[in-house]
């Protein structure tokens, strides 16, 4: 295959399937990533707070979940979500199969992301010098005040960039969801190739879209980081 025929193939994919690719593939990819990251931040925060709790059982449970998520492949977790979520919520079986698959995958990705985010938050907090807490406590502030007013505002500066990276990672990981044909970009790739049999051109187009999404996000994060530093 020559370079010009590749370009032609890519053009054909873009012009024929533009609406399909952009309109829903990108939308679903971003939606899935957004759900996973926002849900992940909520779960991750709860986990991080839970890990500071005095309850040993709770701490142990959270550590176990985090370690299991980190120690198993994301694709396997999606399978688990795909089969387990409907088992727990039988009502879901009456839903449209694509929607059901989407929900299952979103739940699994959210928990996956929650585990990583909780680690990001924890290490962001731990990276703040212990002296900051000690200074606040020595002035008679409660541990809660020291955490909320002194430690967390500083930890956020460590946490936000890492969260951006997590978002970027999640966008790439959503491609695993195509295993269940949930309609994100990689599913669209499969749909298109099923008709055109032109995998190379389609892959190139989809790859470029993934790259642009992540590249733009990473640039955006860098700008945000810089403006945060300027205000420190």
């Amino acid at each position: 295959m020559t370079f010009s025929s590749l370009l032609k193939g890519m053009w054909k994919v873009i012009s024929l399937y533009w609406k399909d690719l952009l309109g829903s593939g990108i939308a679903f990819t971003l939606l899935l990533a957004l759900i996973a990251v926002i849900g992940g931040v909520i779960i991750g925060t709860l986990f991080a707070v839970g890990r500071m709790s005095k309850l040993k059982v709770l701490r142990g449970l959270i550590v176990a979940i985090v370690e299991v998520v980190r120690g198993t492949p994301a694709l396997l977790q999606l399978y688990v979500g795909y089969f387990f979520v409907p088992a727990f919520f039988p009502a879901m079986n009456s839903l449209d199969p694509t929607l059901m698959a989407f929900i299952c995958v979103a739940v699994a990705l959210t928990i996956n992301s929650g585990a990583y985010v909780s680690e990001i938050i924890r290490s962001g907090i731990e990276a703040v010098d212990k002296g900051q807490t000690e200074a606040a406590r020595s002035l008679g502030l409660s541990g809660k005040d020291a955490m909320l007013d002194i430690v967390l505002p500083q930890a956020v500066k460590n946490i936000l960039p890492a969260l951006g990276n997590e978002f970027i990672t999640i966008i790439k990981e959503t491609s695993l969801a195509s295993t269940f044909f949930v309609g994100e970009l990689m599913t669209k790739y499969k749909n298109i190739v099923g008709v055109t049999y032109d995998s190379v051109s389609t892959l190139m187009v989809v790859g470029i879209i993934y790259f642009i999404l992540d590249f733009a996000l990473s640039k955006g994060m860098k700008t945000l980081e810089r403006s945060m530093k300027a205000h420190a």
Partner: protein, 315 residues
């Protein structure tokens, strides 16, 4: 004013403090000297419970900061099942108390020592304890590494604790409203600005700590503690992280404080300074106060062999 009684501190199997007692009087300036790693910081940090003592009690202005240490109260030991068992075997009361203390025989779980023991422990605690956050508001602390809040400007650093704790007090007194809050903030700001002016750093009010020199940071850390109107100030090697040319400016602020009658406990390696400002010097060695006295005695006529050795190295 501030008293530590029979303080023990273990870090895992490392025994750092081994039964230290001392009492700091109002207006007294006490320096703590000793080799690095001898437990000076640990001792100081136990005074405001940044480290939790393993055994022993800390008292501040007649209030108990730690849990009750049963070994410090013979009547508590006598109420214990362990004591009763020993004396039932015919052991002499004093011998039983001595044995229990020496061998750390009291059960940590109060109910195992019986109702009478538990009730007595609770009674002593209830009659004397003070909430640690409240106690700390009267004890300023200055750290070797300054520990200014990085996310706050200099002025915010100084105002933060007075405003935050002030609001809490107002709420507790059911006197929290817009006016009282505004007044609290205005008063705190005025005081913070006066303190900054006093150390000649009024022009730094609105900058962040990262732009300051070590000497400036430490002087601000001192007035940040002073903003709470503490009754005692604890210093943990306040000049050890400073470039030599900045040590003087920090020591000057401390000397002035001492002159004003502030009660101060100072861990320091600045022997000249300790000699000049202290009313009493403690030499810490091997987890205990090996020698203490006025600066003249300690520096000119040391008796302890390790102290002599230490002084010959640092002077």
């Amino acid at each position: 004013m501030l008293e530590i009684k029979n303080l023990y501190k273990n870090f895992g199997s490392l025994k750092v403090l081994k039964g230290v007692s001392t009492s700091i009087e109002k207006g007294e300036v006490v320096s703590i000297i000793g080799a690095s790693g001898s437990g000076k910081s640990t001792m100081l940090r136990c005074m405001n419970l940044l480290e939790t003592p393993t055994f022993g009690e800390v008292w501040m202005e007649g209030k108990l900061l730690t849990p009750v240490d049963p070994y410090l109260h013979p009547e508590v030991i006598k109420a214990s099942n362990t004591f009763k068992a020993l004396t039932a075997q015919g052991m002499d009361e004093n011998a039983a108390i001595a044995k229990i203390k020496a061998e750390d025989l009291l059960q940590e779980k109060h109910n195992k020592e019986g109702k009478e023991y538990k009730a007595l422990m609770d009674k002593i605690y209830k009659e004397n304890f003070i909430d640690i956050d409240h106690a700390r508001r009267k004890m300023g602390m200055v750290f070797q590494q300054f520990n200014l809040f990085n996310n706050k400007t200099v002025l915010q650093n100084i105002m933060y604790a007075p405003v935050k704790t002030g609001i809490e007090e107002l709420k507790k007194a059911k006197n929290y409203n817009k006016e009282t809050k505004a007044k609290l903030i205005a008063d705190s700001k005025e005081r913070a600005e006066a303190l900054l002016k006093r150390i000649g750093l009024a022009d730094k009010a609105n900058v962040y700590p990262s732009t300051l020199s070590g000497g400036q940071k430490q002087r601000i850390a001192i007035v940040r503690a002073l903003a709470m109107n503490p009754d005692v100030m604890l210093f943990d090697e306040p000049t050890s992280a400073l470039d030599p040319e900045m040590i003087g400016e920090v020591l000057d602020v401390m000397k002035e404080l001492a002159k004003e009658g502030m009660t101060m406990v100072i861990v320091t390696h600045e022997m000249g300074f300790a000699r000049e400002v202290s009313d009493r010097v403690l030499f810490v060695d091997n987890g205990n106060i090996a020698e203490e006295g006025n600066p003249e005695e300690v520096f000119s006529k040391p008796k302890d062999a390790h102290l002599k050795d230490f002084l010959s190295k640092v002077l």
